[in-house]
Symmetry: C2
Subunit: 357 residues, 2 copies
């Protein structure tokens, strides 16, 4: 009953096709046929082989399979796991792969294009059958070359590609939804916080799309867009808010490009003694986990990571199946109004007084 000790190093060898074949009294080719579901197998043999597989606990050797072409492994690169969107995407992938012979394997790409490239190469060294890259940072050309080598789906980059598929949330639309929401509440001075573009044209990362969507929507409403560039982080949001407050006319609403930055905006507002939402409306984008909890209750935009993952997987399997025409899938975002947004209230009277230059 006590666990086996390692002291006697008689590790039981993993069962192979040959072992199963001996057990069932057939050739190993026959076993292979059964496993592959190939034709030319009698029901009796199938049964005996299946029993032997069961008995020995046989599992195919992925390395050996990889040598013959397919590893039945999907490589997923995520940049960083801390954001809640990425785990959701992964969950979507896992669910979509359930019931297929494929298994996904993740790799943390890290925060630089060079590292991300190395991670992708590590995945390719391991003979994955396809790649799903979540918000990769490297140049489009590199991805095009990659896509020519291996079935690839890129998540969260706007734009079209020749050699790989993309799945992306319509972030222009998401930003528009938010602006419409704020305008319908009565806001006019709405500041957007963004981050430096990063020069990945012709591809467009999330923040650029959100910013453009914001600008278009503002213009459409006849309002003047005003963007503050810091970073998508709590500190970045804080700094952006400080900058926004320092202008001539204090904004009545701050639409942060990311929830995490919105949290910094909230802190800045608190320090200034500005009541949210009475004196300042704050909104974000991403619907991260904390945005939902009572103490924050942040108005934001949700993009379904689950859907993103599921569709990425679908496209990838199609590509593995032989499709070569690139596909681009766009997912509709959803506005999530919560307690940090309201009609601009007391702010109209208070504005000139509390501004400090």
């Amino acid at each position: 009953m006590t666990p086996k000790q390692t002291t006697s190093p008689e590790k039981p060898r993993r069962a192979t096709l040959q072992d199963v074949a001996s057990e069932a009294g057939v050739s190993f080719s026959a076993v292979s046929k059964v496993i592959r579901g190939a034709s030319g197998v009698s029901p009796q043999m199938r049964e005996r082989v299946t029993a032997a597989i069961e008995k020995l606990g046989y599992r195919p050797h992925a390395g050996a399979r990889a040598m013959r072409g397919k590893s039945y492994t999907i490589g997923v690169m995520i940049v960083e796991m801390s954001s809640p969107f990425q785990p959701e995407v992964v969950q979507g992938i896992t669910d979509a792969l359930e019931g297929t012979p494929y298994q996904e394997v993740l790799i943390a790409g890290g925060l630089s294009p060079a590292r991300q490239k190395r991670s992708i190469e590590a995945l390719m060294d391991r003979q994955v059958d396809g790649l799903i890259l979540v918000a990769p940072w490297m140049e489009a050309d590199w991805l095009e070359e990659l896509g020519a080598k291996i079935p690839t789906v890129v998540v969260a980059r706007h734009g079209t590609a020749a050699n790989f598929d993309t799945v992306v949330d319509d972030e222009y639309q998401g930003a528009r939804l938010m602006v419409d929401h704020l305008v319908s509440l009565g806001h006019e001075r709405i500041v957007h916080t963004s981050m430096p573009s990063g020069g990945l044209e012709p591809f467009v990362l999330s923040h650029t799309a959100r910013r453009h969507g914001y600008e278009q929507a503002m213009t459409r409403h006849g309002l003047v867009p005003k963007v503050v560039e810091t970073t998508y982080s709590e500190v970045g949001g804080y700094e952006a808010a400080i900058q926004a407050f320092s202008g001539d006319e204090r904004p009545t609403a701050i639409f942060a490009g990311a929830d995490i930055a919105a949290l910094g905006v909230l802190r800045a507002a608190e320090e200034r003694g500005l009541q949210v939402p009475e004196e300042l409306t704050v909104a974000g984008y991403d619907n991260i986990y904390v945005s939902a909890i009572g103490r924050i209750s942040l108005t934001t935009v949700d993009q379904s990571g689950q859907l993103t993952g599921a569709n990425s997987t679908r496209l990838l399997l199609e590509r593995i199946g032989g499709r070569t025409q690139p596909a681009h899938y766009v997912i509709a975002p959803q506005l999530v109004p919560r307690k940090t947004s309201a009609a601009p209230g007391h702010v109209d009277q208070a504005t000139p007084i509390s501004v400090q230059h």
Copy 2:
């Protein structure tokens, strides 16, 4: 300059040892020697081969290597990525593996022992050379059997094992640190929120260790421990707080077993109109990302995920190197006092009045 189109399906084959050998004008065995750093290689040959490898961009085929014994891949199972501890552990692993020939690969184990087992098996099918399991939920026996088959390190489970190593934060100690902190501030009625044990003895998961540490420390201070069992979630924390408030004597401090639950406690306090920390001290455990941000600023206990990852990797590499004696590494936690904890202030006067039965 435009990216190659996939329309002409002339995917360039990946370079093999043989290709490199032809390029360098030597035998493929010689190339293998160079790559493995084996002896019996002249400097000139090494140079020519290295040049050829460079030129062709040769990279070893992990599948083929796996067939000969080593895949140079470390499998890491994480239960869920949403918690911030796990990404940190992964970061620690990545850093520790930098410069070694090994590469880690992650798999999301999911929220049930059955799924987690399947994930681990999927990793083994892929011939990983070793496993790091972060907070796995399955029975100890299963892990013992696993450890007999493959070098394994288990993270975040207290207790000793025969066939694998463990790396764990000293959560008894962490809970004691927190209780000492609260007591030193003057608190006496300190409630702890926990979750049902789950029956994984003789192994002990985090919440049980924290609870025991809390109980011991309270007793040592001559105080009466009081535990509320809900779940480690925002809602769970909220419910636990409501229960804690409903007693005869309202606690002056609530020490949640997890930061995420502490957030729920904060919400409950807010709803009750209790000022934190003036009327109620709130503390957590984990030091998750949001705990640090200004608007929350939660007093908590930090366990270094980075250190955990680094040490897990070290132990695993030792085991892969041949060690069979089990090792168990304990990491010291650190108290992180922030703004949600303070001496019990107005509460002493206010207690009898605001309690509702």
